[in-house]
């Protein structure tokens, strides 16, 4: 007889029992909120989904792609992975990720090493630092966008500095 595969459709009760921490995340201090309802493996790429009713206050670290449909207040770090703010997602946090896709609301600064993509009806109030930024027609954005110019070398503050000869005494004032 045919049997429904229940593993792909978790019951609400089971969802509530599972903590919203990505699997394989090393000691990630994730959920400090009053309730954590859902986590779902979406596909083989280890995408974690934080459901609509989930509220997280604090720091969120992870080593897999993450989709947020709930509310996060604090800080999100997914430096090697993609963060997607779903249409119902509301973020009041600083975000650091490889790539960020915004379909919901973000209030806070976004730093992405690859790309920030604000889709139609997505909203960002904050500053964006990313080499690539795409903002769709109909998206809301208020803040600043800082992109590295194509071909520019990555700024390395600790990199080798050019040799500077000591100025002669009496000549070290600023030139007008």
């Amino acid at each position: 007889m045919w049997k429904r595969d229940e593993s792909v459709r978790p019951t609400p009760g089971r969802e509530a029992a599972v903590p919203a921490m990505p699997t394989g995340t090393p000691a990630a201090p994730m959920a400090h909120g009053p309730e954590v309802e859902g986590k779902r493996h979406m596909d083989a790429r280890d995408v974690v989904n934080i459901g609509k009713s989930v509220v997280i206050k604090g720091e969120l670290n992870g080593s897999e792609d993450l989709t947020v449909e709930g509310f996060v207040d604090g800080k999100i770090e997914l430096k090697e992975h993609v963060l997607t703010i779903g249409p119902h997602g509301r973020i009041k946090a600083e975000i650091f990720a490889k790539s960020v896709v915004v379909l919901g609301q973000v209030n806070g600064d976004i730093t992405a090493s690859e790309k920030v993509d604000i889709r139609d009806n997505g909203s960002v109030d904050g500053n964006i630092i990313s080499p690539r930024v795409a903002i769709a027609e109909g998206a809301h954005f208020r803040g600043s966008v800082d992109m590295q110019r194509k071909g520019d070398a990555v700024k390395t503050p600790e990199g080798p500095k050019p040799e500077v000869k000591p100025a002669a005494p009496g000549l070290n004032g600023p030139k007008s």
């Binding site: 604000i118 930024v133 795409a134 903002i135 809301h140 600043s144 966008v145 110019r149 194509k150």
Partner: protein, 227 residues
């Protein structure tokens, strides 16, 4: 065989025609025209930005993704988006335009002399005088010495008065994308009114286009920088 072949041939001739008719049935949504309008001042504005090592740009219009890419990726600008048109629209809808100047006094977070270029577009055509005064004072304050400010000013009331998204096609052309708003254009500003409004800037270039729009590029002289 030949009869069946005739029938199928007839049907096959009918079917694509019907499919073509079905495809043609939906009436395409009426999209307002988006004319590409030449601009003369934008090229000079961009040239002034290119002279800065890491230019900072303040855009007072609604966010346009392709403009962000143009100024951010191609020119290496840090772009601040402050959509004053949205504020105008909101205050108009809420019938609170009298409170707009007070709101605008605290609207801009930029530090004095922190911006190399300002894109006003046609903002001042839609502002009343007290609000325009507040915004102009702020813009003069945040603009760096030798920084540039670009504004478009209508010289006649156009037939359609809507907000416009100005999309940079290249440094000599802008695509005009109108979008609806209850806010109407205010009285046409005379040249002397414009110059008086930006009294701490000097007019670098002024172009009167065939579209009855005057493009004015202001520069902030070094000797008039903030104390």
């Amino acid at each position: 065989m030949s009869g069946v072949g005739k029938v199928t041939g007839f049907l096959s001739r009918l079917a694509p025609r019907r499919a073509a008719e079905e495809e043609a049935e939906p009436v395409p949504a009426r999209v307002p025209p988006e004319p590409i309008v030449p601009t003369k001042a934008l090229k000079k504005f961009i040239a002034s930005l290119r002279q800065c090592p890491s230019p900072t740009l303040l855009d007072l219009g609604p966010v346009v993704g392709s403009n962000i890419q143009y100024f951010g990726e191609r020119l290496g600008c840090k772009v601040f988006i402050e959509d004053i048109f949205a504020d105008l629209d909101r205050f108009q809808r809420e019938h609170q335009l009298a409170d707009l100047p007070a709101f605008l006094r605290t609207r801009f977070p930029q530090a004095p002399e922190s911006v190399d270029g300002i894109l006003c577009w046609d903002l001042f055509d839609f502002m009343d005088k007290p609000s325009a005064r507040v915004v102009a004072d702020h813009l003069m304050r945040v603009l760096k010495a030798n920084g540039a400010l670009l504004g478009f000013f209508a010289t006649a009331h156009p037939a359609e008065a809507t907000f416009t998204k100005f999309i940079v096609v290249d440094d000599g052309n802008l695509r005009h994308r109108p979008y609806s708003t209850p806010r109407m254009r205010q009285a046409v500003m005379q040249n002397r009114d414009i110059i008086k409004l930006f009294e701490r800037l000097r007019v670098s270039d002024s172009f009167l286009l065939h579209t009855n729009v005057r493009e004015i590029l202001f520069r902030k002289p070094g000797y008039l920088s903030n104390p």
